[in-house]
Subunit: 359 residues, 2 copies
């Protein structure tokens, strides 16, 4: 049976002030009138029932997750007592899925990406599921054809072409490449041989657990102990204790870069990780002066800005260019667009100055 | 007896969004923890009792005036049914003051200037009062030694020096000069012969009424009719009817430029009409990066900005320079500092787009 694991653990800082500690990116409506988490759930709705869908999120986000996904059974929302990166999250999800279904196949994806159209995503996911059913040892990842020379993503160098199925190309993975510097990113983007690593995977739960056991035996033991205690009164106690002892490691470092049977499916869909405020320019149309406006905005002589605000507020701009202007609740950000990578510094400073109420 | 007329009619647009239609500049705390109107009232408190002080404001501002000046008797707050510039306002004030005191001397001043120290202002006002008592026909105006080549003010060219009293220099007025272009402003500022016209005056009520009768007989008739009806049930009706029929004309055009006996007292005080957001830079200290901050502000790589906001809000800035950033209630303004003169365009656009709720 196909299960889904939606990883919704992020507490990102790049969307401050809209994204606060209490409401990180996956809960925001950054593309359309549904949150990214809600869109992720809808995307797989036609493939996986809610009863076989797991959302792993931060413990403090469990309530918001439940509020946004009223059709999801409560027991399918798992709150991590602390963040331990993707290897722990995936290990836990796999151990829980395998408990009730030894043949479980898992579709793993982050909650905070934009993927369109959903139908194409499901087509590719079906192809990946078939690959895994035919080749039980396979770890299948989804590669995105680079749209530009991004330095913010990891890359997958493709190996030999294996097949085309339902119009979807399948390759063996040649190698995983870390986030490159600019010149290397340009080479990758131009090579025709590299994909962006989307962080979306399909595999058998038993297979990924085996790989974790081989590469991260302590982690594998821990998630097995959590799964064993899951239906007992000790569930929370064991989860908290075991999780605290885990190291922070991504599934790429922990497993993918070392595994033998890794395949990549070339995504037939559009993908955007909506990594920062400027990503809104890709998701929304611009006005005649190149502004991207998601606000009640009055602009005079205003060019190439991103303006976001609450509906009942007015943001007026006069004689300004290249700014990111964000109003959300009790906070306002005005940043030069070239500084978007430094918005996290604002969040750090707020912590340092004990202005947590604005986080 | 000395009376005071504080002109509080302004509905200026240059302080949007803090200054709204419902709360223009004189009601704002732009210098210190008291509004400009409250500061004006305090300034004259040691010279004139509330019972001889008149505030003439817009009818819609009468309530806010009363709220800000709880010690002022209600009947001393006069709401103009419509704005008719300073000649009408001063004529009305003079007619009302003369009703109860034929020898009334009036100190006339706008409500929305910063004047410091108040003691020096009172010293100059006392000198002016003495001049008027000795020379009943005199119209005394206050001239400000130019601090820079301002193009936004009218100028007074001084004539012959008359005297020094209590350290205050008194001149006959040579001529009034309209707001100059830049080159002329530079000549005036360098000449040593020109003052800024502060719009502050001292004269006998009977004298200014006589001058109005000679130069603006219809206006003089109208304010006399209003004064005659003041203690009757027809007060409001007559005020509304007569005011509507008045022309818009300033006291400078109507009287000062034509009168024979016009003197100018050189102000021994600091004066600032706080004409726009950038004026705050003169009224408040700057931080290490030349920012003027009246807000809960977190700035990283932020230079030469003016940042104003409500206390409970946070304004964060990152990598920006030369901006005016104002948050007030439901509105935010982000403007380049060189555009401060165009903030009125925002207000015009709000009217044109029927966004009156933000005015």
């Amino acid at each position: 049976m196909l299960h889904a694991l939606i990883m919704a653990g992020g507490g990102g800082t790049r969307f401050w002030p809209r994204s606060r500690q209490s409401k990180p990116k996956q809960f925001l409506k950054l593309a359309g009138d549904r949150s990214l988490l809600q869109q992720a759930m809808e995307r797989i709705g036609a493939m996986v029932t809610p009863a076989r869908t797991w959302i792993i999120t931060g413990a403090s986000y469990a309530v918001e997750t439940a509020r946004q996904l009223p059709n999801l059974p409560n027991e399918r929302i798992i709150g991590e007592p602390c963040g331990r990166d993707t290897a722990a999250c995936i290990g836990l999800g796999a151990a829980l899925a395998a408990r009730g279904d030894a043949e479980a196949v898992m579709l793993v994806m982050p909650a905070d990406h934009v993927i369109e159209p959903a139908q194409e995503f499901r087509r590719a996911a079906h192809v990946a599921e078939q690959l895994v059913l035919e080749n039980p040892n396979a770890l299948v990842t989804f590669g995105i054809v680079p749209a530009f020379a991004a330095t913010g993503y990891g890359y997958i160098e493709r190996g030999v072409a294996l097949a085309q199925r339902q119009g979807v190309s399948i390759y063996r993975v040649g190698s995983f490449r870390e986030k490159p510097h600019v010149e290397l990113a340009e080479q990758y983007a131009a090579s025709g041989q590299h994909f962006w690593n989307s962080g979306i995977f399909v595999w058998r739960a038993a297979t990924i657990l085996g790989e974790l056991r081989r590469n991260q035996p302590a982690l594998a033991d821990a998630v097995e102990r959590i799964a064993a205690a899951w239906d007992t009164p000790r569930r929370d106690e064991v989860l908290t204790k075991e999780y605290a002892g885990l190291g922070r490691i991504s599934i790429d470092y922990a497993v993918m870069e070392k595994a033998a049977e890794v395949l990549v499916v070339q995504a037939p869909f559009q993908w955007d990780d909506v990594g920062s405020w400027l990503a809104l320019e890709r998701r929304h149309p611009q006005d005649a002066h190149d502004n991207t406006v998601l606000a009640n905005h009055l602009g005079i002589d205003t060019h190439h800005c991103v303006v976001v605000g609450d509906e009942q507020k007015l943001i007026a701009t006069l004689g300004v260019s290249d700014l990111i202007i964000i109003q959300d609740g009790d906070a306002i950000l005005v940043a030069h667009r070239e500084e978007e990578g430094n918005i996290k510094k604002i969040v750090e400073q707020l912590k340092a100055r004990r202005l947590e109420k604005h986080l």
